[in-house]
Assembly symmetry: C2
Homo-oligomer: 350 residues x 2
């Protein structure tokens, strides 16, 4: 105001507004920094009028605590490391959202990293997260060994999914793939199908093997022989589902239904059938596994086993938080649920 002739623009070109510090709040409120810290963190027995002053100063100054400083000084960073295998996975997307939704209201932030199904990369993620001093870690579908995970849990609370594993600061959330596959196969059997082809998942993954077992067990329970010629390997992606159908048809063993170990392969399989002029479900019934968000909008909508990905995320996040708080988590995933949609129907007579 002293130099009316100075253009405003020149007076304050782009001052990146020096961040407000706790110190400044303390001065404005006329108290010590520690008091401010205590009030803002509820670390001390409530104080009298100073409290009001501090809160006001905080507001007028627009003070926002520096997480880095907090982490350095206090040890807690209020962030949770989340190791996912692929940030763009159609399946885990929902889980990530669940984690976000659970963490946010608790004042925690997720730190997402992708391990790309690579154990080495996964180990690196864990190291990076530890370096960042996260307060806990969630690993979705780890590829690392149990012992490596257990080791990691020695220094941090860890929650893993897709594996049965308990430890000191370690909790796991597992989905019953066997039961899910059993249920899916049973469904097809109940519709009168006796020649049910199965497209396996990438059997490097334990869940793929479990689904295979479930399929096999359901057949056995129904007294239907397990025919290896009707079992074709897939890799959990669409293209492998398409390939599988081509191989199945080329091979010539008759079948009236296909159970794919996941929805992505089911989509590929549907395309394969379409290309061969076979209609779903009129000629071949099709059942998937996972219930991807878009499976209900395929033509026809896909019958599948619902996996509670969003819930999985929420429960995993809630569990780390409990571990951090020193409570023993008890969360359990809901049981597999069969969703009967239009892709499966009564078997036509061969």
């Amino acid at each position: 105001m002293n130099k009316p002739n100075t253009p405003d623009a020149a007076a304050a070109p782009a001052l990146p507004k020096a961040p407000v510090t706790l110190q400044m709040v303390a001065e404005l409120a006329g108290v010590s920094p520690s008091t401010v810290s205590r009030i803002l963190n509820g670390t001390a027995v409530v104080s009298g009028a100073k409290r009001q002053a501090v809160l006001e100063a905080t507001k007028t100054l627009g003070f926002v605590p520096n997480p880095l400083a907090r982490g350095l000084a206090g040890g807690k960073t209020f962030s949770i490391g989340v190791v996912t295998q692929a940030i763009d996975s159609p399946f885990y997307g929902a889980a990530l959202r669940g984690i976000e939704d659970e963490l946010d209201p608790m004042g925690y932030s997720p730190l997402f990293m992708s391990a790309h199904w690579n154990p080495t990369a996964e180990a690196r993620c864990l190291e990076l997260l530890q370096a960042r001093r996260v307060d806990g870690i969630v690993v979705l579908m780890p590829r690392l060994s149990d012992s490596a995970l257990l080791h990691c849990a020695q220094s941090l609370p860890v929650v893993v999914t897709g594996r049965e594993l308990r430890g000191d600061r370690l909790y796991s959330l597992n989905f019953d793939n066997f039961a899910g596959a059993f249920r899916a196969t049973e469904h097809l059997l109940a519709l009168g199908h006796r020649h049910i082809a199965f497209i396996t998942g990438d059997e490097e993954h334990p869940d793929a093997a479990e689904r295979h077992q479930g399929y096999r067990a359901a057949l056995q329970a129904a007294g239907v022989p397990y025919d290896p010629r009707l079992v074709v390997p897939g890799m959990y992606h669409e293209l492998s589902g398409l390939d599988a159908v081509n191989r199945l048809i080329a091979h010539g063993s008759p079948f009236t239904a296909i159970f794919a170990a996941n929805d992505q392969m089911a989509a590929g399989a549907a395309l394969g059938l379409y290309q061969h002029g076979l209609r779903v479900p009129d000629d071949v019934s099709l059942v998937g596994f996972d219930d991807l968000p878009n499976s209900v909008y395929s033509s026809p909508p896909l019958s599948t086993i619902h996996q509670p990905a969003y819930e999985l995320g929420r429960l995993a996040a809630a569990s780390v938080l409990q571990l951090i708080a020193g409570t023993q988590p008890t969360a359990q995933l809901p049981r597999p649920e069969l969703l009967v949609r239009a892709s499966s129907s009564v078997a036509r007579t061969l």
Copy 2:
């Protein structure tokens, strides 16, 4: 070692291995902390033999610098804030992966946050990220005003997508939605279609309006009248595509093709047509927009306009890095590309 009788388990129950500090490396190497810092950061003119000692000490101790301390002291956190609208978006997933892939080799880490298409939430994300002292920010499809974004760029390098906007520390990457929609419509026109229905996107989003314009312009260029009865509102999700088809059919205006403003609605539309016993493309040709990863596996595979989501992520990340380095980014998104697949074919005579 003094008490051979003490069980090992009791001696070291679960000592969370006190983190190795730069200080410790310095001592082991027999130099000062600053020297270690300089060597590890390449901040000083290379030194002689001490360098070797430090590097070795770093290795044997397994030293990993504490990012929090680095950020606090040095100002740089080597992390980039990424604001996405939905962490589980089928479209943006690829972009996030692109960002990861670009940042990782440069030693930067992305910090993902979801704004859920909510301007208020978006503003909060930006604040949180600034509080975390990220070195730069990428906002995918911002919902905030230009000025708000520009304001944010005053204190940090910012890159936004889906908008034309330039500023001091601000760069933008935009996709030509108009041209894409024009191209898609043109394709249908070239196949002989004259009654092309259009399912709009959520016109709250600028891109939806641009796609609508592109559709309109292509019709006009071909001398085909724009028929409002063939334009039905959608919301960019599958269900709205399904609804749109139902309304289209209920209304009774004949059409031989549908152009949906995105692939998700195209999937919904395909289902609607299927439910009405209409075949794609025999009865109705269908074209989408975005080229979602699974669109190529729908039955039939969907003709669509390819959006380079992964590239978008890489370029956005590369651009912030350039901004941080003080270089002016020049990245440009590739032009829209039409992918002709099986869902579109020559118009049947009405």
